[in-house]
């Protein structure tokens, strides 16, 4: 079969991080070619280079045998390359047809928009590929699944030959995913080549012809679908050597501190994102939540600190129900939380270090009497934590924005761990940290565990979950699919469950 795209020896670095390290990719015409890999494996970077959003440090791109230069997305569109991003680039206040034709609209006498032709052409295109889109409704009134099809229509209208779909199923319901696959098959039949990026192995096994596995910026292997299975792919993706020390086993496990029973919640589109989530976290243990990004972890964290509205179920701390309380009371009840997004939720960047080190504790003794701040105590607290947690800052008045990411994270970890009474929720506590800082945060969490506190760890990195957890709960599409002891499982088994595979595929 003819090769439509060949990327040869692509390299791209961001600072000291090598996002793409001598990557080769060959895609055959009229196929669905999947690229799989963990977060940060370099899939999206590679595609952004192909679409002209990033400039590669080196490497060559051949399209249908000819060497091409792609400097920006308009070059890519000229060459027949289309890309549909995770976050759609549509204008909500305009109609479907207007969005599809944007920039290339049919005109009447060069000035006026030919609305009739606009809608008619969109309808024709939609019918031809079985997209079932109504041209004259406003984009703001249509669902996520339909919006995605409008993006596909946009690409089709621009005569796309090679369509890149970057994690297209991340925001879709199972039904919408089915519909998307139907559309993809239709496109393939018409000779359009699809590059499909996903974490979900079952989806990849369903739709792909060929699969390229990436890890740490390199291509591990490109295989035909028929020559592999979910287990094989999972091993290639996550089966790397663990280089950090695993935590020593928990010493003394006590009674449950935090209990979650049959918790359900919806996302902003009123779709269920958490379904009957049930687990306990006991004193003296670390419960790790393993799962691929976007399977309900964020909503679970937010539910536990009272920001996310829950539709049913209950959360109890020390046997007392706390899910109906406002955030402040929930946290005062004894929950410390290291948020996922440190700049958005963990810190006030424009506060100085000492102000950030009491964020959320400003009403507590001794930092205030409830109305007047006690700045000498705040300073004392800052000095103590800076020393204990080795936060590298020029002074306690230094603006937190100007600290390095690792030190910002230490500010959050210090505050939450030091002042949390019994329950610590740590969401992606080491995201973006270097090895030394990661190790430090791990040590702190283990120390808290051994001090008899309960720790709930969320991490997208399976290695980290395996290192620290006493027990591991796997979350997939908003459900806890399994809770297992660390000793009784393996990375392969967990990886498979995280990716929606089931037990029956696991070799004994």
């Amino acid at each position: 079969m003819a090769v439509i795209l060949e990327m040869h020896n692509m390299c791209k670095n961001f600072g000291s991080v090598l996002a793409n390290n001598h990557v080769d990719l060959k895609v055959e015409k009229g196929t669905v070619h999947s690229i799989v890999g963990e977060n940060g494996a370099g899939k999206t970077t590679l595609m952004n280079i192909l679409y002209g959003l990033y400039k590669a440090n080196q490497g060559e791109i051949f399209l249908e045998g000819n060497k091409v230069e792609i400097n920006d997305p308009s070059d890519a569109v000229q060459l027949g390359i289309g890309m549909i991003h995770q976050h759609f680039k549509l204008i909500p206040a305009m109609t479907v047809a207007e969005n599809v034709m944007l920039g290339l609209e049919p005109r009447k006498g060069k000035v006026f928009l030919d609305i009739k032709k606009l809608n008619q052409q969109t309808q024709e295109l939609s019918d031809r590929y079985g997209l079932a889109v109504t041209p004259d409704v406003l984009v703001e009134n249509i669902s996520v699944g339909i919006r995605q099809r409008v993006e596909i229509l946009k690409a089709l209208y621009r005569n796309v030959k090679l369509l890149i779909l970057d994690e297209p199923t991340a925001l879709l319901t199972p039904q919408e995913t089915e519909d998307l696959f139907r559309v993809i098959r239709h496109l393939r039949k018409d000779g359009i080549t699809i590059i499909f990026i996903s974490h979900h192995l079952n989806e990849i096994m369903e739709i792909s012809d060929k699969i390229t596995v990436m890890r740490d910026g390199c291509v591990v292997k490109t295989v035909n679908k028929k020559d592999t299975n979910e287990v094989g792919l999972a091993r290639m993706m996550v089966g790397r050597d663990v280089f950090l020390r695993p935590a020593p086993p928990a010493k003394k496990i006590g009674k449950p501190i935090l209990s979650v029973k049959k918790l359900c919640a919806n996302n902003i589109f009123h779709r269920p994102v958490l379904t009957d989530v049930t687990f306990d976290v006991r004193a003296g243990e670390i419960l790790g939540i393993a799962g691929v990004d976007g399977n309900g972890q964020s909503e679970l964290v937010r539910s536990l600190i009272g920001i996310q509205h829950i539709t049913s179920g209950e959360i109890t701390l020390h046997g007392k129900q706390i899910d109906h309380l406002p955030v402040r009371r929930m946290r005062d009840a004894g929950i410390g939380a290291i948020p996922e997004d440190r700049l958005k939720e963990g810190l006030v960047e424009d506060f100085n270090v000492q102000e950030n080190l009491i964020l959320g504790l400003q009403l507590h003794q001794p930092f205030s009497n409830g109305f007047i701040m006690n700045w000498p105590e705040v300073r004392k607290n800052a000095k103590e934590l800076i020393k204990k947690f080795d936060i590298r800052t020029p002074s306690i008045d230094f603006q937190t924005r100007l600290l390095s990411g690792g030190n910002q994270q230490k500010v959050i970890v210090a505050r939450e761990i030091f002042h949390a009474p019994d329950m610590i929720i740590a969401a992606q506590p080491t995201r973006g940290l270097d090895i030394a800082s990661t190790d430090f945060v791990h040590e702190q969490l283990i120390e808290q565990r051994d001090a008899g506190k309960a720790v709930l760890l969320f991490s997208l990195f399976l290695d980290e979950v395996l290192l620290l957890s006493t027990r591991i709960a796997v979350i997939y599409k908003g459900k806890i699919v399994a809770i297992v002891d660390r000793e009784k499982t393996t990375a392969e088994k967990l990886g498979l469950m995280m990716l929606g595979g089931s037990y029956k595929h696991i070799p004994a």
């Binding site: 939380a337 958005k344 205030s368 109305f371 007047i372």
Partner: protein
Amino acid sequence: MQKIKNFFIKQQPLFVVLIALMLSLVAIGLLLVATNRNPFAALYYFLRGSFGNLYNTADTLTRMIPLAIAGVAFLIGAQSGVFNVGIEGQLLLGAMASAIVGYIVKLPAVIHLPLMLLAGCLAGGLYALIAAWLKAYRGINEILSTIMLNYPAFFFTHFLVLRVIKNEGIVPATPFIQKTAELPILIANTKLHAGLIIVVLVSIATYWFLQKTTLGYEMRAVGKNKEAARYHGIPVEKRMVLSFFLSGAVAGLAGAVEIAGMHHHFLDQFSPGYGYDAITVAMVALLNPFGVLISGTLFGGLKTGIMDMSVYAQIPRQLATLINGIVVLFIAGKSMIESSYVRIFKGREHVFETGKEKKQ
């Protein structure tokens, strides 16, 4: 060398404002040269008019009083993440409420004066609550709602002085307030009144509130990062409403002080747009409660200085008001100066960061 550079990096906001002011001075100079006038003579008469003698200085300070109090009103909101452009309306209603209390109520000065000022605060604060509720609980952009709410306030007070509580005389105004409600004059033969003391007290109180109280801490946290504030249990909506109320109350106080110290009755259209100038005053002051005392004096001086300049340097008044506009324009456009400043002192790749800060 690095030390000097670090100093410039650390004091970036201050220097950017100073550069903006200097550039506007240069622009005004060029404008005068282009119209065949001597810019140095103009500057001389400008400075003489605003600070040349005791009387002129007192006049400048008198004009500083409403500007600085209204500036504080704006910065309370801005520090808490609400952009209160409705100070003008709140100020007018505060002035009206205090004028009515000053006129109708008969009490000894010790009670009457505070009561009158309090009435101003309440009227301004309560009026601001409309926009506060719309923003916090209905998600309505406060810039639009506050600017629109200036009009009902203006026409309502206009209506009152024309039809309801009018004074005898040609100028539409309310009757004069009682002597017990007047702020005393500080320097004889000038108009400088005890509002000057109130300005300083308001600055101190605002600094204390924002920096030393838990509410102030929480309001600043909301202003700088709403998501983090919410995550850490701060009731974001309530704090927004509170900051709006306080901002409106101080705006109302600005109006009340103007009535009690300057006009002694509600004179129709007495405010030349203090509420709008307040935004510039607060911006130049870098949202610092003490900074408004300096920037308020600067803008007060601008108003008094321009008068002498137009008389003695033969500059038409129209050109003089243009000068005010130029200063505002340069302050508003300071982000352009900022990016050049960052390029010089931090390097090219940091220029993006200035844009990022703007977005938040």
